[in-house]
């Protein structure tokens, strides 16, 4: 079943890209979930959509953009949106969660306007919304490989600081950890991971790979390090089974990956009934 992924170059790219995303999405997801920021991934994925729509629109008028991978523009929008969320969280100090619906609706609004300007939906856009097994290009693979390396390095370097800030911000600041810099760095990494994952699972389901495996891991993990272990295992299993079944059943991989994640989550809840998290 999986052999076919090694027979065709483009499927091999899809497989490796999927596995890389199955690694970095839950890593970032663990921090997002314990900080109660999991909705940020939804907001950022929608702003990524505007970036992609913008790039597709520009592609109709300028040769340069028609050859450029739209993921770059999506990434720029995503990082911009992330920084804007941070700004908004400071403006509405007592209503911090307000930043998320603002960016989310702004993202869809701008995206829809760009889409209509570009004369409506086409197949390309559909693939961005729900993910695709066959759409991964070499340039996607290379970009996502680069992002994966960056994320892993930052994760190793700043694991202890991000852990401390997530657990107890005041104490972390008192101990001399530079909160602002590390937080902005983190949110930029989130934006990059979202833009990267979108190719496989699609914009509408990006947040699933960051939250569902983490939610399942929470039922099993003893300690923070184990959270990463379980989340990554669950995410990789979902990606692998999801991609294979999507290819053979000709489904959008986003949906199948999410369905398998949900299944893992339900089984985890059933098997760990006693725990309250």
């Amino acid at each position: 079943m999986i052999q076919v992924f090694f027979q065709y170059q483009f499927l091999t790219y899809t497989l490796y890209t999927g596995l890389m995303i199955g690694l970095i999405a839950p890593i970032i997801g663990v921090f997002l979930v314990v900080r109660r920021l999991s909705l940020i991934s939804d907001a950022l994925s929608h702003i990524t959509l505007s970036g992609i729509a913008f790039s597709l629109l520009l592609g109709r008028h300028y040769i340069f953009f028609s050859t450029l991978n739209p993921i770059y523009m999506g990434m720029i929008f995503s990082v911009g949106g992330a920084l804007f969320i941070e700004k908004l969280r400071n403006v509405y100090r007592y209503y911090k969660e307000l930043a998320i619906p603002i960016i989310l609706s702004a993202g869809i609004g701008i995206g829809v306007v760009f889409i209509s300007l570009a004369n409506g939906f086409n197949n390309d856009l559909f693939q961005y919304l729900f993910g695709s097994v066959v759409a991964i290009r070499q340039s996607d693979f290379e970009l996502i490989r680069f992002i994966t390396v960056i994320v892993i390095i930052l994760f190793i370097l700043f694991y202890k600081e991000w852990f401390y800030l997530s657990f107890d911000e005041d104490q972390a600041v008192v101990s001399g950890i530079p909160k602002k810099t590390l937080h902005v760095l983190f949110i930029v990494v989130v934006a990059l991971v979202i833009a990267a994952s979108m190719r496989i699972v699609g914009i509408l389901l990006v947040s699933s790979l960051m939250t569902l495996p983490v939610a399942a891991a929470m039922r099993w993990a003893k300690g923070f390090k184990q959270m990463f272990f379980y989340s990554i295992v669950f995410a990789e299993v979902s990606v692998l089974l999801g991609l294979i079944s999507a290819f053979h059943l000709e489904l959008a991989p986003g949906g199948t990956i999410v369905m398998i994640s949900v299944l893992i989550l339900l089984v985890s809840i059933l098997l760990t009934k006693k725990r309250t998290t």
């Binding site: 600081e161 657990f167 008192v174 101990s175 001399g176 300690g223 390090k225």
Partner: protein, 277 residues
């Protein structure tokens, strides 16, 4: 490590602080010598926690200056020499997936610094600190599975693991049973006497601890009293009525410590009496 020329752990000069229009602290002068064990007492909303936040650099005073070991807070860099156990420790996100070991390790993160990792020596220190507070049997348990008193001991271990010269505790015994409270005070006394650690304990329950502390400071927006514990006990009635600003009756109960108890109409009963017992 560092040269501490100042005989004072903390010097507060003419500090005022307000939240918007509301004045919380007014013209506070307070010098805390190294090696003392200070009880900082005052009713709810008297600005105790605000003052602590100013000392820790989490709040910036509108007026005045605070020095830590002879250096202004802005220029102070040796934050690992200051241990802090916050009031919030009682209401932290108790579902956070972190083990006792992981939580106590955090106490070393500031000292170890960015881009560096914990080594064997650090790990031994973590084990030491956990054993010191008697939590050795729970080292790989999730923090959320422990009782309030046990969690508090873990947070003390986290504050102690970096060998601080100054330990600040904000209402550390809220939600801890009476028996553990006594052992807890004895442990602090030992740190003060044997290790020469400067301690500040914020509380509204001064009665239970007069036999452990060396100095008392009474705060209610302004500083009403600062002096030795004996002096405070002798003039307790005066102190308390001046601090609360209206008539309060003092009733003497014969509890195990045989300390004065304060009774008011009813609001302050809770704040000065042994509210938890």
């Amino acid at each position: 490590m560092t040269k501490h020329i100042s005989p004072y752990a903390i010097e507060i000069n003419n500090v005022s602080f307000s939240y918007g229009q509301r004045n919380v602290l007014q013209d506070i002068h307070l010098k805390i010598p190294q090696g003392s064990f200070l009880g900082l007492v005052g009713p709810n909303g008297s600005g105790k926690s605000t003052l602590i936040k100013c000392i820790l650099g989490l709040n910036t005073p509108n007026k005045g200056e605070i020095k830590l070991f002879g250096e202004t807070v802005e220029k102070f860099h040796h934050w690992s020499e200051i241990g802090f156990v916050s009031q919030k420790a009682n209401s932290f996100n108790s579902g956070f997936p972190a083990t006792v070991y992981e939580v106590v390790s955090m106490g070393l993160y500031g000292k170890v610094g960015l881009f560096r990792f914990l080594n064997k020596k650090h790990k031994l220190k973590v084990f030491d600190a956990i054993n010191k507070v008697g939590m050795g049997d729970y080292i790989h348990q999730n923090i959320g599975e422990l009782s309030g008193g046990q969690q508090q001991r873990v947070f003390i271990a986290r504050a102690l693991v970096s060998d601080p010269k100054l330990l600040i505790l904000d209402e550390p015994t809220v939600g801890v049973d009476a028996k553990s409270v006594k052992n807890f005070y004895l442990m602090l006394k030992k740190l003060n006497v044997e290790n020469g650690m400067t301690l500040i304990l914020v509380t509204h329950d001064i009665g239970a601890m007069t036999e452990y502390i060396t100095d008392v400071a009474c705060l209610n927006k302004c500083l009403h009293f600062h002096g030795g514990t004996n002096e405070f006990v002798e003039n307790q009635e005066e102190m308390i009525s001046s601090m609360y600003g209206h008539d309060v009756q003092i009733l003497t109960h014969n509890h195990d410590h045989d300390h004065d108890h304060v009774h008011d109409h009813d609001d302050y009963d809770h704040e000065l009496g042994r509210s938890s017992s």
